[in-house]
């Protein structure tokens, strides 16, 4: 394992590290005059470069442990690419929004880059310690990002709540990991998996560790019993940060959950299928039903993202060997599509917030179709994708997840998921209804900055493209799944 090889395999991480410092450097050099524009461009360049690196790495189909703790495999690389693109989109869109709001814009973009770094580390961590340090690194950067708008009461409140919840959940996660370490004596996931496979007695001990770890990781993916911080934080945090939190960091949560469960606890499948299944149903129902009641679109999106997390978890619950309907490919394509849709939806709120001076109430959306048809069309497309109407990517994701659930003959779960789609369809349609059918209470079209517009168009195109050219993306997802499943079972 010579240095060049390490450099090649850990290329994305190194690139991000350098970009982070470069961003801070550039911002200092510009002495904070240009509201972080150059810093943002450098950050975006770095992220895209990292994304390219991980795609290039991906094509080489690596599947090996690097430096004892980093498992560079197609599974991890898939999530890295998705996260990097997500963060890049967030940065591009938020330049205009963040311009007047804070002096430390250089730090803001640097933090986002470091958050991306944290995700790329945690996603391919195959060692308990690295998992813990990665999650805490991601959490801490998120606390700061959440509380970035110093003067703003909502942003600080969001940050403090997130901090308190994250710290306690982190402690419980740590407790779980320590028990796991105690039981198996090693910190490497793969060896833990083999040890637990062999010794029957460690069976339910593993479960205790898993339950506690579930709390720690589950909170990141905002699964129901551990989701309560999410609505307040998404609502309070600056919208680009909410976009980041609800997509990239959630994807990281699912990636870690997937890796830990599939590598460390494969033989406990009957147990965690039931528990995760129950959690998934709870998440879907609570997320969707509360979203029904929301007046503010931002808060509605927060709860809808919790609901969507329920669906994504279904992919994991119904994981199985069969090539096409293995569940994990459902989870991944759903997540991939979800990142684009949710980033798009939150960022669109930016434009609305800017126009209405901070309020994201549904009444702001009334008659948007007449005032700014392009934005309305894009938002309608995101809503339809979240509702799962073909030919969008949302449908593709739901299709594969449903397929996996049906493949495992979990009819009740399938039926409950279907009912949820109907409930969810209602409040997604509600937004469309306000935009297209009712008269606008607010005058004047909604102005979106060039950066935001490009991001929205890119997202909208991706949402449709993945839906239609499903085959291209599915092959990409399928063989990244075969990697993780093969060594796991």
């Amino acid at each position: 394992m010579n240095v060049l090889e390490i450099l090649r395999l850990l290329a994305p991480e190194f690139i991000l590290l350098i970009t982070g410092f470069a961003v801070i450097g550039v911002d200092l050099a510009r002495r904070r005059q240009d509201e972080g524009k150059t810093a943002a461009t450098v950050a975006v360049m770095g992220l895209l470069l990292a994304a390219l690196a991980s795609v290039w790495l991906y094509l080489g189909h690596p599947g090996e442990i690097v430096l004892f703790t980093m498992a560079i495999d197609v599974y991890g690389l898939f999530f890295k690419t998705a996260a990097f693109i997500g963060v890049a989109l967030v940065i591009i869109a938020s330049v205009n929004f963040m311009a007047g709001r804070s002096k430390y814009l250089g730090e803001f973009y640097a933090l986002l880059v470091f958050a991306a770094l944290a995700i790329s580390v945690v996603v391919s961590a195959s060692n308990l310690i690295l998992i813990y340090i990665g999650i805490e690194f991601l959490s801490i950067t998120s606390y700061i990002l959440a509380g970035f708008l110093r003067g703003d009461k909502r942003s600080e409140e969001a940050a403090i709540k997130y901090f308190l919840y994250g710290a306690s959940a982190g402690a419980i996660l740590l407790f779980g990991l320590s028990i796991l370490y105690g039981v198996t004596g090693t910190t490497d996931l793969a060896t833990i998996g083999d040890l637990l496979l062999r010794s029957r007695s460690a069976h339910w001990l593993g479960l205790v560790a898993l339950m506690m770890a579930l709390a720690g990781i589950g909170y990141k993916a905002s699964l129901v019993p551990f989701h309560q911080w999410a609505p307040d934080t998404y609502d309070g945090a600056p919208t680009p940060v909410s976009a980041f939190l609800s997509t990239a960091s959630k994807a990281a949560g699912f990636a870690v959950l997937g890796r830990v469960i599939l590598t460390a606890f494969p033989q406990l499948q009957p147990d965690w299928t039931q528990i995760l299944g129950a959690i998934a149903v709870l998440t879907m129902f609570l997320g969707n039903l509360t979203a029904l009641k929301q007046k503010s679109v931002k808060r509605m999106l927060a709860y809808s993202s919790i609901g969507q997390a329920g669906y994504i978890l279904l992919g994991l619950v119904a994981v199985n060997q069969s090539g096409n309907f293995g569940g994990m490919n459902g989870l991944m394509i759903y997540l991939f599509g979800y990142i684009f849709t949710n980033v798009g939806a939150f960022l669109l709120l930016l434009a609305i917030e800017q126009k209405s001076g901070g309020s994201t109430d549904i009444s702001q959306f009334k008659g948007l179709a007449t005032r700014s048809p392009a934005l309305a069309l894009i938002m309608a497309m995101f809503m339809l994708s979240l509702a799962g109407v073909p030919p969008t990517v949302g449908f593709l994701g739901k299709f594969y997840v449903f397929a996996a659930v049906m493949n495992q003959q979990m009819l009740v779960l399938g039926a409950l998921a279907a009912v949820n789609t109907i409930i969810a369809a209602f409040y997604y349609l509600n937004v469309i209804r306000h935009m297209y059918f009712s008269e606008s209470e607010v005058e004047g079209g909604v102005m979106a900055s060039r950066g935001l517009m490009t991001v929205l168009v890119v997202n909208a195109v991706m949402v449709l493209a993945i839906g239609i050219f499903a085959q291209f993306f599915m092959t990409w997802v399928n063989n990244s799944v075969s990697m993780i499943i093969a060594n796991g079972f």
């Binding site: 919840y165 205790v208 506690m212 579930l214 009641k293």
Partner: protein, 730 residues
């Protein structure tokens, strides 16, 4: 040569159809032109039909192998349904009658359709100037379509095509009865034309639906509906009359019985027999040519024609032991008597004729019921002639009285504004019109005599007597005596009508000034009067002492031969003195009694009907037609409307709410529809989704308190629960 003539049969319904489309597409604005097109079309059809009919009469050998020309028309499954035209003795007879009567009525209506009384001229200036009905051309379009329907029905070679033309006639009768749709009467109880049209269509529709069921069952069993194919092969009829199907409360019924019963109900609907008769009298609201055309000559007789066509099936059913023939006879006889009784107490000239038509049709069905196939057909043909004559006569009387009323009114006799409504059709406003309208008068008397079967000289006597003779000969005494009573009453009300309208002194100024009708109206009356008198000789039985040998009853013989072809063994009625004498005495006594009551001491103006005093309450019952209209309204119309509104409430209330219970938008519904709010709160418990969303709302408020430490507490509790699951869960 004869073969080529028959090839023209399919052309018969065509001219009037082309006339219909020509009028509605092109000639609508020009009234005179459209009437010329219509009359031209019907004349061509008349010539063609007479050519075919006479050609058939001339060479009777066609009864063995009736002419049939069919073309493949509709693919059904792996067979193709053939449609075409057929001519046999019955068709020939009908063609002869229908062609002629249609033409007479078309010519008559060109004169009759002048500017109607109930429209005020200012609204239709040009029509008033021309003196024609504003919707003159539309009328001719409708009657051309009607003519197509009737002609098509007569020449049809299969039951489905017959059914199609049958319904087209139903449509035309609806359009024509409701022709003066904007006419309304001060007295709300009196039925308006538009309501009469609707009533006619719906009542006949009930019959048609049962007819369609019969047709479909026949089609299922026979695989084909062509008359000659089905009724010519005996083993099919035998098989049909033996296989049984058990119905809920009828028990085991043979298929033949069931099909013929259903088809008979179609005939009951169309020919206005007992249970479904209510629409015919109200159909008099239409213009008189329509009443003559539809409700005397053609449409109502279509029902009889259908049963005549179906008689092989009926007789097979009878052999198979089903009582359908007896049922037909009973309905026929009962309707004959029942309608006659009502006719006695009517004061409207057209209503009397309407009930008399129902009664005469009753005679025909009674004849069919007792198997007198030939008598029924002959009475059908002859009745068409004198009944259309009577209707047209009454039309010209009404026309005259109306003009008289206008005339009197114009001369200042009327006091200023429109005095109370003057009904030109009410016989008690007429009197002594024979002097004013001689041609109409005398032709009317001839028709009346023929209707009441004035012995020996009128055609009506021979055809009705034939039926009575058959009833007597075959020993159906119950049927015979009802028909005989009916005959007496027929004579009585016919001559009551004649004495009231034509004899005595005019009771109103309108009657005094009633002018004779235009030549185009009176000339057809004369032509029909000729047939009313001499038509009967076609049916004079051979062995009648004096006149027997004179005219060869070739038509009767022709029908008998045709019967053989269809396996109906129709015994020719040997002439027997007793029934003939009884019917003669009945007819004469009817006339004498009528003379005693109305002719001897003619009524004065404003004098009510003497019968009212003698019959008292019975008279009012008869006048109100045994209250059948009210009865049907009570047992049929009101429950349907009530059921409709009940289902609608059920639809909006229950199902929608169940749906809302399922759909998640109930909360949203409450928010947007304020007026529903009470219902939402009242049965909030009922609609579950509303409940679920309020419950989750409450739960969310409970746990999403915004307190970070509450969240942590719940985090702890969830971890504890998860840990508890392990020892107990797996």
């Amino acid at each position: 040569m004869s073969e080529s003539i028959f090839n023209l049969t399919w052309l018969i319904p065509l001219p009037t159809a082309l006339a219909f489309f020509a009028i509605i597409l092109f000639a609508n604005p020009k009234k005179r032109l459209s009437s010329k097109i219509a009359v031209g079309g019907v004349i061509i059809a008349w010539i063609l039909s007479w050519a075919v009919a006479i050609m058939f009469f001339v060479n009777p050998e066609f009864t063995e192998q009736p002419f049939d020309l069919a073309v493949p028309w509709i693919p059904m499954g792996n067979i193709v349904f053939h449609m075409g035209v057929a001519v046999d003795a019955v068709t020939a007879g009908m063609l002869f009658m229908v062609g002629f009567v249609l033409t007479m009525i078309f010519i008559y209506s060109t004169g009759y359709m002048s500017f109607p009384g109930h429209l005020d001229p200012e609204k239709y200036p040009d029509a008033a100037k021309e003196g024609l009905d504003p919707r003159y051309s539309r009328f001719f379009a409708y009657i051309s379509l009607f003519a197509t329907g009737m002609l098509g029905l007569v020449v049809a070679d299969n039951l489905l095509m017959l059914f199609i033309f049958w319904e087209i006639m139903g449509l035309c009768s609806y359009l024509l009865i409701g022709f003066w749709f904007d006419k309304s009467y001060p007295d709300p109880k009196q039925i308006t034309p538009k309501a009469a049209g609707l009533k006619a269509f719906l009542t006949t529709r009930v019959g048609d639906v049962l007819f369609m069921m019969g047709l479909i069952f026949l089609f299922i069993h026979a695989g084909d509906l062509n008359f000659q194919n089905i009724f010519a092969n005996q083993e099919f009829l035998h098989e049909l009359s033996t296989t049984t199907v058990n119905l809920p409360f009828f028990g085991a019924v043979t298929w033949a019985g069931l099909i013929s019963m259903l088809i008979f109900w179609g005939a009951i609907g169309k020919s206005a027999q007992f249970p479904l008769h209510v629409w015919l009298p109200d159909a008099m609201e239409g213009p008189t040519p329509v009443s003559a055309l539809i409700h005397a000559a053609t449409m109502v007789s279509a029902g009889v024609y259908l049963i005549v066509r179906m008689s092989p099936l009926f007789s097979a059913a009878a052999h198979g032991g089903s009582g359908v023939m007896m049922f037909v006879a009973f309905i026929g006889a009962f309707t004959a008597l029942f309608a006659a009784t009502i006719a006695v107490a009517q004061k409207d000239i057209k209503k009397v004729l309407a009930y008399s038509t129902i009664s005469q049709l009753g005679y025909m069905f009674a004849a069919l019921g007792i198997g007198a196939w030939v008598a029924a057909i002959i009475h059908l043909l002859i009745h068409a002639f004198f009944k259309s004559l009577l209707f047209m006569g009454s039309g010209s009387v009404i026309h005259g009285v109306h003009h008289g009323h206008e005339h009197a009114h114009a001369h200042g006799h009327g006091e200023g504004g429109h005095e109370e409504y003057f009904d030109p059709q009410d016989m008690f406003n007429m009197g002594g019109l024979l002097k004013r309208m001689p041609i109409t008068g005398w032709t009317f008397i001839i028709g009346g005599a023929s209707l009441s079967a004035f012995p020996l000289i009128t055609a009506g006597f021979w055809s009705k007597d034939e039926i009575l003779a058959h009833a007597w000969a075959d020993g159906h005494m119950a049927v015979y005596w009802t028909l005989a009573a009916g005959a007496f009453l027929t004579a009585f009300y016919t001559f009551r009508q004649i004495f009231l309208t034509f004899f005595g002194s005019p009771r109103t100024e309108a009657a005094e000034h009633a002018p004779e009708s235009v030549r185009s109206m009176t000339w057809p009356l004369v032509a029909l009067a000729f047939f009313a008198l001499f038509g009967g000789f076609v049916a004079v039985p051979v062995d009648f002492p004096v006149v027997g040998g004179l005219a060869s009853d070739f038509l009767a013989k022709l029908m008998e031969m045709q019967g053989e072809f269809y396996g109906l063994h129709v015994a020719p009625a040997r002439f027997d003195w007793t029934p003939a004498l009884i019917s003669m005495t009945l007819a004469l006594s009817g006339i004498v009694v009528a003379w005693l009551v109305y002719g001897w001491k003619p009524l004065k103006a404003k004098q009510s009907d003497p019968l009212r005093r003698w019959l008292g309450p019975v008279y009012t019952v008869l006048e109100n037609k045994y209250y059948f209209d009210e009865l049907y309204y009570f047992i049929a119309v009101r429950p349907t409307l009530w059921l409709a509104s009940f289902f609608y409430l059920f639809d909006r209330g229950v199902i929608d709410r169940i749906v809302n219970w399922v759909g998640a938008f109930n909360r949203w519904l409450a928010r947007t529809l304020r007026r529903w709010i009470d219902e939402y709160i009242i049965d909030g418990a009922v609609n579950g989704v509303g409940l679920v969303t309020t419950w989750t709302g409450a739960v969310v408020r409970l746990i999403q308190t915004g307190q970070a430490q509450n969240y942590l507490l719940i985090l702890l509790l969830s971890v504890v629960i998860l840990l508890l699951l392990i020892p107990f869960g797996s």
